[in-house]
């Protein structure tokens, strides 16, 4: 077990390196001189030389990559072109908001999705199954940025119940746990929850209906076990895979929040990324994507470890 753990963690290292290489190369696939793309347009000759030396843009690419990683490990992700502030600080400030949004969305989406999937799998072939499966397909087919707009139209424009944008009254970015702030969270979190809801419902339905068709369930029934007992058995068997699906979905929410944050002007890392794209602020784009991708890699690793811990039979290569 310990050996497996170490192997799995060691396996994540080259992946993390590869992911950072892709992020590093982003600035180099951008059209134009990478130096120009990390500098403000009105930079002086002197400033250019200074940066060229500091960032090692005159050195060969592998050396540049090494230097870049070394600085990134020390928490230096460069400076934003638009604001001149350090990228690491900007991303760090925003990512908390994204995390909060993703956790609320995930909690709601997972609960409803797992419930729908379970009911559909348990009453396979009935109208309950068809209705909840239809809901699940609709969930995965929805362009969620559009759903966000529709919810804003209904709850903000027509009914005027909930605020359309921002994370607090008056566009304040400082979060507090009161109703004034919480009501800003409702619409974006609800919109975001639709993505994992559909996928979790589909996976749980497949899992439950697969488990129900196994012989041990018939044996339990024949033995006279109550439906509640059978439910617990299904839950125990579905948990490892179900939790793995949910873990990955949480990661997708963290990394894919840009569209929803843009619709709701939610001051998270996705919103920051959207601004970086609009202003072609490549250092901010690169740093932001590196941090989000690393979160995802770590989360993947955690999901694998938890899954193995829950079900030691699973040992993925």
């Amino acid at each position: 077990m310990l050996e497996y753990l170490l192997k799995r963690i060691l396996y994540a290292v080259p992946i993390a390196l590869g992911v950072s290489l892709v992020c590093f190369l982003l600035v180099h696939i951008a059209p134009g001189d990478p130096l120009v793309s990390v500098l403000p347009a009105d930079a002086s000759q002197e400033m250019q030389e200074q940066l060229r030396a500091a960032y090692g843009f005159d050195k060969p690419l592998p050396v540049q990559f090494g230097l870049w990683i070394w600085r990134a490990l020390g928490g230096d992700l460069g400076f934003s072109i638009a604001t001149g502030r350090p990228v690491a600080a900007e991303v760090w400030r925003a990512i908390g908001n994204t995390f909060m949004l993703a956790v609320f969305a995930a909690a709601f989406g997972f609960l409803v999705g797992a419930f729908l999937g379970f009911v559909a799998g348990y009453y396979r072939g009935t109208w309950v199954d068809r209705a909840s499966s239809a809901l699940a397909v609709a969930g995965i087919s929805l362009p969620h940025y559009w759903l966000g707009m529709v919810l804003v139209i209904i709850f903000s424009v027509q009914l005027n119940w909930l605020p359309a944008t921002g994370a607090g009254p008056g566009g304040s970015a400082d979060w507090e746990w009161d109703w004034q702030h919480m009501r800003h969270l409702i619409l974006p979190a609800l919109t975001m929850s639709v993505i994992p809801l559909g996928i979790v419902a589909r996976s749980v339905r497949a899992l439950v209906s697969d488990i129900l068709s196994q012989e041990f369930v018939d044996a339990l029934r024949a033995k006279g076990l109550s439906e509640r007992g059978i439910f617990l058995h299904i839950l125990k068997n579905a948990a490892p895979t179900g939790l793995a699906v949910m873990g990955l979905q949480l990661g997708y929410l963290l990394g894919g929040s840009i569209l929803i944050e843009t619709v709701f002007a939610w001051p998270g890392s996705g919103f920051l990324l959207g601004n970086a794209i609009l202003q072609r602020d490549l250092p901010l784009l690169q740093g932001n994507i590196l941090v989000l991708a690393m979160f995802f890699v770590t989360l993947n690793l955690l999901v694998d470890l938890v899954q193995t811990w829950l079900d030691p039979r699973i040992k993925r290569g």
Binding site: P143, I153, Q286, A293
Partner: protein, 297 residues
Amino acid sequence: MSAASAAVSSEAGQVPVASRGYWSNVLRRLARDKVAMACLAVLVLILLAAIFAPLIAPGDPYRGSIIRRLRPIGTEGYPLGTDELGRDMLTRLIYGGRLSLFMGIVPVLNAFLIGTFLGVVAGYVGGKTNMAIMRTIDVFYAFPSVLLAIAISGALGAGIFNSIVSLTVVFIPPIARVAESVTTQVRNLDFVDAARASGAGALTIIRVHILGNVLGPVFVYATGLVSVSMILASGLSFLGLGTKPPEAEWGLMLNTLRTAIYVQPAVAALPGAMIFVTSICFNLFSDGLRSAMDVKL
């Protein structure tokens, strides 16, 4: 694929009752699936409307009018209203299908070709080649798909071509993974050994036996990605990374109409409804195809 089914039917020829063959069975099952057929009909309708847009659209998708901006649905002469520049919504929605469908299908098609190639090579050759290909693919798989698409598009800059490149890169890893795992399974089956023992070369085995078994499941998987591709491509346009104004594309229209939700909410929501309908039809048709072909992934 044709070679494989020909082999099956020549075998079946020795049995007194000729078998129908795999593909005609699949088509028969698919034809009985009411949901899949209804979705196919809707998709064909949208596709035909997009192809023949100049013939059926009532107006010009680019001609606006300052005095006729943001008319509601049901206005005379503008059955679905007008957009923020006074352009006819019905016309733009019909024209919009062209780019939106194109951006949904082309990246998946590219990724289908490249990903299947990589997966089959990795699975068939094995060893170090497999390691090199599959570990590289793992790296791209380690990004959430939305993030990867936005990262590449954001670095390359806006434009249809750049969006297609970034979405192709997003879809290669999952397709290659499916192709690799099916290839590895098939490669070790007895009939491949038999073919090899009877003197078939590597290319023949790949063409006849491997591809014959791999293309089906990978194709089904790829049809399920078209809706993802459409939503992502529209999302890129929505962020200003895909098509540029004044082009008619559903994602871009949704973006430019965002400011109009206080004036004409129903009109502003129309392009998104089109994306939703098309993508749900692709998903349901893909589900139908999957169960008709009896593919488990």
